[in-house]
Each structure stands twice: as C-alpha cells, then as structure tokens.
C-alpha cells in the first residue's frame, strides 16, 4: 500500500463533518424549541444530516482509496460500505426514536445529538488506518453511548445500564490501549499498513510481545462485539437502555467493531492469522452457544434480543475465521442484513412497548397477531429471518457465512453453527407462538399499540429489505464483495 501521507484532505472525513455539523445544528435548534410538538423537527435535522453524510460517503464508492490526515484515515469501498451501514442504522434509529423520545420523556436535543456523535465515531472507526485514530473513533462512539444508555431517565435500570456500560467500556478500552502499545512496541508503528509490512518481512511472528498485543487487542474488540466470554455486560445494558438505542447498539456498535476487527486483523495482522483464527474459532463457538442457549429462557424481549445479538456475533465471527473473499464478504453481507432485520424487530418492540418499561415481557405479545395482523406478520418475518429461515435475508446471510466456512474447511464449526441455529429457532418461534397462537390471559389489559408514522416507515423499510435481500441477494453480495477488495 503506497500511501500518500502529505495532505490533510478534509474531504476524506466529509461524512464525519456533515454528521458533526448536523449534531451542532440540533444543539443550536434545541435552544429555541419550546414545546414538545416541535421536537420532531430536531429528529429531521439529524436525519437530513445522515442523508447528507450518506451522499458524501457514496461519492467515495468505486474510486481509488484516498487517504487523509497524513494517512490516518482512508476513504475506500470498505469504509464506504460501513459508513452506509452505520448511516442506515443511525437513520432508522432516529426515525424510530422520534415518537419514543416524546413518550418516554427523554431530552430530545441531547438524545439526537449524541446519536449523531455516536454515528460519527463509528464512521471514523471504519475509516481509520491507524490504531490511534481507531481508538479515537471508538471513544467518540463509546462515550456517546454511555450517556445514551442512561437516558431513559425515570428508569433506575437505565442508570444501572449506563454505569455498567461505562465501567466495562472503560475496562475494555484499557485492554485495547495496552494492546496498541504492545503492538507499537513490537512493530514500531501504529499505522496498520506499516504493521502489516513489518509483519510480512520480519520473522517476529512468535515474539511474545506481538502475540500479547494481538491478544489484548482481540479482547478489546471482543468486549465491543460482545464476544464470549466478554459478553456479560450486553444483556443488562441492552435491557436497560432506551429501546431504540438498544437496537442501535446491537447493530451499529457491533458493525463498527467488526469493521475495525477486519481492518486490523484481516488486514494488517493477516500474517498472524493462524493464531487469532484459533482464538476466534473458540470465541465464535462460545459466543453463539452461550447467546442462543441463554436466550432460550428469557422472558423479557429486549433481553432475549440481547442474547440473540450475542449469538449473531458468534455467527459473524465464523465469517471472520473463514476469511478470504467469501468469508469477509459474508461478514459484511451478514452485518447489513442483520442491521435491517434487527432494527425491524426493535421497531416492533417499540411499537408494543409502553411508557415506563411496560409490555417488554413476552406475555404482552399474546394475541398481537390476531389484533394487529400487519404488526404480527412483520415481527414474524423478522423472527423467521433472525432464525435463518428462507426466503428471508437472515437465511441468505447465514447461508453465505456457512458456505464460506465450508469452503475453507471449517465443517465442524459449521455443524456447531447449524445446531445453534436450531436452538435459536426455538426462542424465535416462541415470539410467533405468543403472537399468533396464544390469547392474552384473561384480565390482562390489552397492550395498546403505539403507532407512529416514522415508526411505520422504519418497519416498512426493514420488511422490504429483509424480504428483498433474501430473495434477490445478488447485488448486495456484489456490494459486499466490492467492499473488501483491498484485503485480497
């Protein structure tokens, strides 16, 4: 990688700039917004900002990789892919938040601003080509989320969630930093490209410092993607955070961490792959098994989706382990479909959720299917898709991941994964059982459904893509493939 390091090239961080500007715009406007009814306006500012960032990011697509800030950031297909993904996640999160924020009495201005900042951090992570820059992006993301997680003000659980997230986040940041330091010590640079070329030339592959650095880095990322055994924070945090933020975290943070993981490990630490692949193999098996098995008994839907999210991280790790164009492409494709279907699922949860953490229990879903067929059907689609049943996109994602694994000879891993899928089917089915096959207990009040046009829009988008990406995956697969050219 010959890197032009001479210039700042502000345009490279164009998406971040637009997002930050939009965030600032919201903060300014918030000062003048008096009544509740004007709040949606704030959301739309953020949403437009997201669209703008998307447009900027799209302009990078298909071009030569361009570097900025002396080679600290890059605009290439890979970053463009992830930027798009983050912006989709962020944009949908904004849409589904607008009614929720008002209903739950959350401070709208701060909420939207922080969401935009978090998105900025994600984009930065995907663009960074330097471990320091990566760390910076991660911190921007994390700090915003620490706050967001605690924003459901009247909930002690939310506060607990925030604090827990903060503590563990700080802990993982420590690991990450220590890992970066060791890697720097071993290779003499924090630049990914340099580390890659050092590793390619030198015979230092067995050096303890290097391996320790790699391990610590992996641990740090492991926390972020909730890889077992570093997953313990996730269920509590996911349960406590405001529901749209839970959705956002489950897809956005995960995707950002995977983006970084791929850049660092599949990119510059490729030479060490025998070592980290083994670790990730174990991590993947543990993650999906623990996630799925633990999800079985959950009665709180957010908690169940949290464990489900852990399990999905396990599946995605298979793609990382498999590597190559198929494996890496599968990771990207999976992240994309997971984003859409999981946000869709959370949109349904929000629709059914009432102010003050009500109706989050599975039993609240009893009879939804007969009273609100469309909503029930939508949830069913998301559940079937998450369970990996055709013709929905979740199946295609799993299929792609498994096929990459089989291709690289990880048949044992694939069999463990399909058995895990089987376990997962049980708890996803439980939601459909509740919605379609059971009636609410007599005496229990019917859950009033919370309809909001923006929320309906999110549902429509999510449904559309969950079906469409399952039936016609070609262009998306191509999109994912084109995004990873530089690893090959």
């Amino acid at each position: 990688m010959g890197i032009e390091t001479g210039t700042v090239m502000l345009s490279i961080i164009g998406p971040e700039v637009v997002l930050v500007l939009a965030a600032l715009g919201i903060m300014m406007t918030d000062l003048f917004v008096k009544s509740d009814s004007e709040q949606p306006f704030l959301m739309w500012i953020g949403f437009v900002g997201m669209l703008g960032a998307l447009a900027v990011s799209a302009s990078f697509w298909g071009k030569e990789a361009a570097y900025g800030f002396y080679g600290m950031v890059v605009a290439d297909n890979f970053s463009a892919f992830f930027t798009t993904l983050f912006l989709i996640a962020g944009g949908l999160t904004l849409l589904m938040s607008s009614g929720y924020v008002r209903a739950q009495g959350i401070a709208a201005g701060e909420y939207y601003t922080l969401t935009l900042f978090a998105t900025t951090g994600m984009v930065l992570m995907a663009q960074s080509t330097d471990l320091i820059m990566l760390f910076l992006g991660l911190e921007v993301l994390s700090v915003s989320l620490y706050v967001l997680a605690g924003m459901a003000q009247d909930s002690t659980r939310s506060a607990e969630s925030s604090l827990k997230y903060f503590m563990l986040g700080a802990f993982s940041t420590g690991f990450l930093l220590y890992g970066i330091a060791l890697l720097y010590g071993a290779c003499g640079s924090t630049r990914l490209a340099d580390i890659g070329s050092v590793l390619a030339q030198k015979q230092i592959l067995r050096e303890p410092m290097l391996l320790a650095g790699m391990g610590l880095l992996l641990t740090g990322f492991g926390f972020k993607i909730a890889m077992a055994p570093f997953h313990r924070w996730a269920p509590d945090v996911y349960e406590g955070a405001p529901t749209p933020i839970t959705g956002f975290m489950s897809v956005g943070v995960k995707a950002a961490a995977f983006a970084a993981l791929l850049r660092v490990f599949a990119g510059s630490l490729a030479a060490l792959s025998p070592h980290w692949k083994e670790l990730l193999w174990i991590g993947s098996v543990l993650t999906m098994t623990i996630g799925n098995v633990a999800a079985l008994r959950q009665t709180n839907i957010k908690r169940m989706l949290a464990y489900s999210s852990i399990a999905h991280a396990g599946y995605i790790l298979i793609g990382v382990v498999a590597g190559g164009s198929a494996g890496t492409g599968a990771v990207l494709y999976y992240l994309l479909v997971y984003t859409l279907m999981n946000i869709g699922a959370f949109a349904v949860v929000i629709t059914i959720e009432q102010k003050g953490e009500k109706n989050l229990n599975l039993s609240a879903y009893a009879g939804i299917g007969s009273r609100h067929l469309a909503l029930g059907a939508a949830m069913a689609v998301f559940m079937f898709s998450l369970a990996g049943i055709p013709p929905f996109s979740g199946f295609m994602g799993k299929f792609y991941i498994f096929s990459a694994a089989v291709k690289e000879g990880y048949i044992g891993l694939t069999i463990i994964a399909v058995l895990n899928s089987l376990v997962s089917v049980y708890y996803y089915l439980r939601v459909t059982v509740m919605m379609f096959m059971q009636e609410p207990e007599s005496g229990a009040e019917e859950a009033a459904v919370f309809f909001h046009p923006a929320l309906a829009g999110v549902l429509l988008i999510a449904i559309f893509f969950t079906v469409q990406m399952g039936l016609f995956p070609s262009s998306y697969l191509q999109f994912a493939q084109d995004s990873i050219k530089m690893f090959l």
Binding site: S370, L373, F384, I389, P390, P391, F395, F399, Y400, F402, S403, V406, K407, I411, T414, I415, V418, L419, S421, L422, V425, Y426, L429, T432, V433, F436, M437, Q438, F472, P473, S474, L477, Q478, Q481
Partner: protein, 523 residues
C-alpha cells in the same frame, strides 16, 4: 414465464390478493383462494398433457440466473418422479380449500394465505432442480404448516405439536444444508464450476468416505420428513393437533417430500453409499412398518391411529426405494401417490366427523353407519384402500414394493407382508368401533350425513383410489423411465458393492431361474 413457474407463482399471487382483500368478507377471500387453487390445478394438468411419456429425463425445464455470483440458478423442471407429485399437490390443495370451507371460521384471511403459500412451497420442492432453490422451498414450507398447526389446531397441545414439527424438520434440514455446501464446494473444486445445478452434480464422482457422510446428512433430513422410525414421534402429534386440512396436506404431500428426496438426491448423488446403507434403511423401514402398525392398533384417538398407520405405510415406500430395482421403486412411487389419496381421504373423513362431534376419541363413536350411510360407504372404501385391498390403489403399490423387496432380499418381503395383516387388524377394528354397533351415544343419534360438498370431495378421492387400482398404467408408464435412470446411476457405480444375491436389476431369464433361486437360498 413457463408453465412450471406459473404454477409456483400463481398461488403466491392469490395470497397477495387475499392479503389486500377485506377481512370482513370471508366468503370473498375463500372464493379467491379456491379460484386460485382451482386455476393452479387446471394449469397443472398442462404438465400431464405436455409431458412426453417414456422419457426419463427432465422436461419443461426453465432456467434463469438467480444469484450468479454463487452459481445459484432458478432452475425448475419435472420428470416422471415429480410429475405426479406436483399434480397431487395441486389437486390436494383444491381439496384442502374446499374441505376447510366450513371447518375454519376464525382468521380466514390468514388461513387462506397460509394455504396458498404452502401450495407454492409444495410445488416448488418437487420441481426445483437447483439444490439451493430446493432448500429454500423445503424450508419455506415449514412456516405455513407451522402456522396451520399452531393457530388453527386443536386447543391444548397444538403449540407443542407445531413447535415439535418445526424443530424436528429443521434439525434434519440444517444438516442437509451443510451437506449441500460440502457438495457444492467439492463440485467447484473438482470441476472448476461452482454451481448448485443438480444435473451437473449428477455427473460428479464422490469418494466413498465423503458419500457416506453426505448420504447420512441428506438421509437424516429425509428420514425425519418421511418419517422413518425412530424419527417419527413428531408425526402423531402434528397430525393429531393439526386442523383437518393441515393433516390432509401433511399426510398427502409433505410426507412425500422425504421419500422424494431419497429418490431425487440420495440415490443418484451417492450411489455407492446408497448400496452400503441399504441394510440400514431397509431395516429401519421394516421396523417402521411393523412398529407403526402395532402402535396404531392400540390407539384410542382416530387421528393418532391414522398417523401411526402413516408411519407403517411410509415404511413400505422407503423399503421399495431401497430394494433398488424397478419394481420396488415404481411401487414406492405409486405408494407415495396412493398414500396421498388414501390417508388424505382418511383425514378428511376424520375431519368430517370431528366437525360434527368435536371429538376424535374412538370410544365416543359407535354405530355411525346407521345414521350416516353415505359417509359409511366412503369411509369403508377408503379404509379398504388403506389396507391394500386388490382392485384399489394401495394394492398395486404395495405389491410392487413387496415384489421388489423380495427380489432384493426375500426376508424383507416376509416381514413387510406381516404389516398387511396388521393393517387389516387396526383399520377394521377402528372401523368397527366407529361405524358399527348400536348408536349408543345420544350425541351421535342426530348426526347429519354428508352434504353435497363433502360427498364431492370424497368422491374425488375415491375416484382416484379406484382408478389407480384398476388402471395404473398411465402412471407407471411415465414414472418408470425416470426411475430407471436413477437406478442406472446406482447400478453403474454402486454395483461392485452390492452383495451378489441382491443384483436383481437384470433378472435372469426364466430358463436360468432355478440357479438364481438356489443362490438366494444358499445365502
């Protein structure tokens, strides 16, 4: 769009139309659904007329790229094996629609959508010639059937049954997915072409060790679906708890997918392994034949009894397939269709009395012949067809299966034949307890005989029950060439592994028969 694609997508279009239709007019929705399925059935008759009898290969093939990057194509076509299964699906869909007319009163809209989705899935499974496409249809079918059982099933254990059905099937099919992927990459690596095209896979020569694993993975999925002993326990639950229509389609069509899978994939793809596993599969199917019949005998619930009888009957099908000769396999194919009509009709019949009495317990009936004479006649014919009375459909298939089995290994036929005796026992005993005797329950006294719609439904079934029995030639003529092709693949590659006595594909002429005979008995 070709004819086959039209068949696949027409029900879907109907489902969309119903989804947009007004919920408060169930009659209209039913009308749309019935019209759609009738239209699909009539179109499917075109398959029969356009099918060239005597050709073994695939016909009416349609192909268009789907996910070219992965070598996935939308490729459909039919041969003698799938032709009648498709027709069975479309016909039984019409029957199911009509049968649900007065049975299903709640959530009609969802019900009709489910049925039409199911129809698409069923047709799709039988026509898919691309393994990926096949897998998609295979799994897609699960959802509507799961909902049918879980929503419209009998209160009580319907959810347990629905989830059990889903998980059992899924368990098998997920391992099959891994096997499909292994095949795919093996094909890619050896030929350089990455494709899910079944035809290309047929040309592949896999090493034996690989065949063994793949055979087991595919076989497990199919064995669960059939269902073969000891994977059958989902079936009694699913059948018993499902609404009438669900049981009918489950028995008539869905179970056939397992045996179809064996014929379409296991035999031609893994010929050597097939020959190796003959003892295992034949053994299991024999156990299934006897076991299913014995357990059916002691059931107190009519639906459960019929469900266990299915285990026994499907054992015959698998036995026929693994006899690995034309007679056995043709018999198995015919038996698949026969079982569709006989057991499908049995479930219709049980549904009709359930609708009147809301019980399935044999003990709650008795003497129905007196109050429902027309019903009694139909029930009797169907019961007789199920126990394989010559002249009705079941006999032709069962005889051919036994003949094939006998040629492969006389002991198989000796054991399987016992199933025929037991079938008479459990079926007639049930018939006697339900239909004969005094009408000793007050509730049964006022039962109405069949109405015109019900009689028409059963008449359709009985027509085929008799027609298959008296003149099965049109079916055999179309089925046989395709089976011969499958057999040829097995013979060519699997022959060296077969024990000497079992190579019965080319039978010795009459003159050399004694020799042949003595070899069999010396072994």
């Amino acid at each position: 769009m070709g004819l086959i694609s039209l068949l696949i997508f027409l029900p879907l279009a109907g489902a969309v139309l119903i989804a947009l239709g007004p919920r408060e007019k169930p009659g209209l929705l039913r009308g749309i659904a019935l019209t759609t399925s009738v239209a699909t059935f009539l179109l499917s008759l075109g398959l029969f007329t356009r099918f060239v009898a005597g050709e073994g290969g695939f016909q009416l093939v349609e192909m268009r790229p789907w996910v070219p990057g992965l070598g996935i194509t939308y490729r459909v076509g039919i041969d003698g094996i799938s032709l009648f299964l498709v027709l069975l699906s479309t016909l039984l869909s019409v029957v199911a629609m009509a049968a649900s007319w007065s049975d299903i009163k709640v959530r009609v809209k969802e019900f009709m959508i489910c049925l039409l989705f199911l129809e698409t899935g069923m047709i799709g499974v039988f026509v898919a010639l691309d393994l990926f496409l096949f897998y998609v249809f295979w799994e897609v079918m699960l959802i509507p059937m799961y909902l049918l059982i879980g929503i419209w099933g009998n209160p009580g254990r319907r959810i347990y049954a629905a989830v059990k059905f889903f998980l059992f099937t899924m368990f098998g099919s997920l391992l099959m997915l891994v096997a499909i992927l292994v095949m795919y990459f093996y094909h890619g690596k050896t030929t350089g072409i990455y494709t899910f095209d079944l035809m290309s896979w047929y040309n592949l020569k896999l090493p034996l060790s690989m065949q063994v694993w793949l055979f087991l993975a595919f076989g497990l999925a199919f064995a669960i679906k059939v269902p073969m002993f000891p994977f059958h326990t989902w079936l009694p639950d699913a059948h018993t708890e499902a609404p009438t229509v669900g049981s009918v389609l489950l028995a008539a069509v869905l179970l056939k997918m397992g045996t179809y899978g064996f014929l379409r994939f296991n035999l031609p793809l893994f010929p050597e392994a097939t020959v190796m596993f003959v003892p295992l599969l034949a053994g299991l199917s024999l156990v299934g034949i006897i076991y299913g019949a014995l357990v059916a005998m002691v059931q107190v619930d009519v639906k459960r009894l019929v469900a266990f009888s299915s285990v026994s009957h499907m054992g015959f099908v698998v036995l026929g397939i693994f006899a690995l000769n034309v007679e056995g396999m043709t018999g198995a194919m015919l038996q698949m269709l026969n079982h569709g009509f006989s057991t499908g009709a049995l479930f219709l019949i049980v549904g009709m009395i359930y609708e009147r009495r809301h019980t399935r317990m044999i003990a709650d009936f008795g003497g129905l012949s007196t109050v429902m004479p027309v019903f009694a006649t139909f029930f009797l014919i169907v019961a007789l067809s199920s126990i394989g009375l010559p002249g009705l459909n079941g006999f032709v298939g069962e005889f051919l299966v036994l003949l094939g089995a006998f040629q492969a290994e006389p002991l198989w036929a000796v054991v399987a034949g016992l199933g025929l005796i037991l079938a008479a026992v459990y079926m007639l005993w049930m018939f006697q307890r339900v239909m004969f005797g005094e009408v000793d329950k007050e509730e049964n006294r006022g039962l109405k005989d069949l109405n015109l719609r019900e009689a028409a439904l059963l008449l359709v079934m009985v027509f085929f029950i008799i027609q298959f029995g008296v003149y099965p030639k049109p079916y055999i003529d179309r089925i046989e060439p395709s089976l011969k092709l499958v057999l040829k693949r097995v013979e060519e590659r699997g022959a060296p592994l077969r024990p000497a006595a079992a190579t019965a594909a080319e039978k010795p002429a009459a003159a050399t028969a004694p020799q042949h005979f003595t070899t069999q008995h010396h072994n």
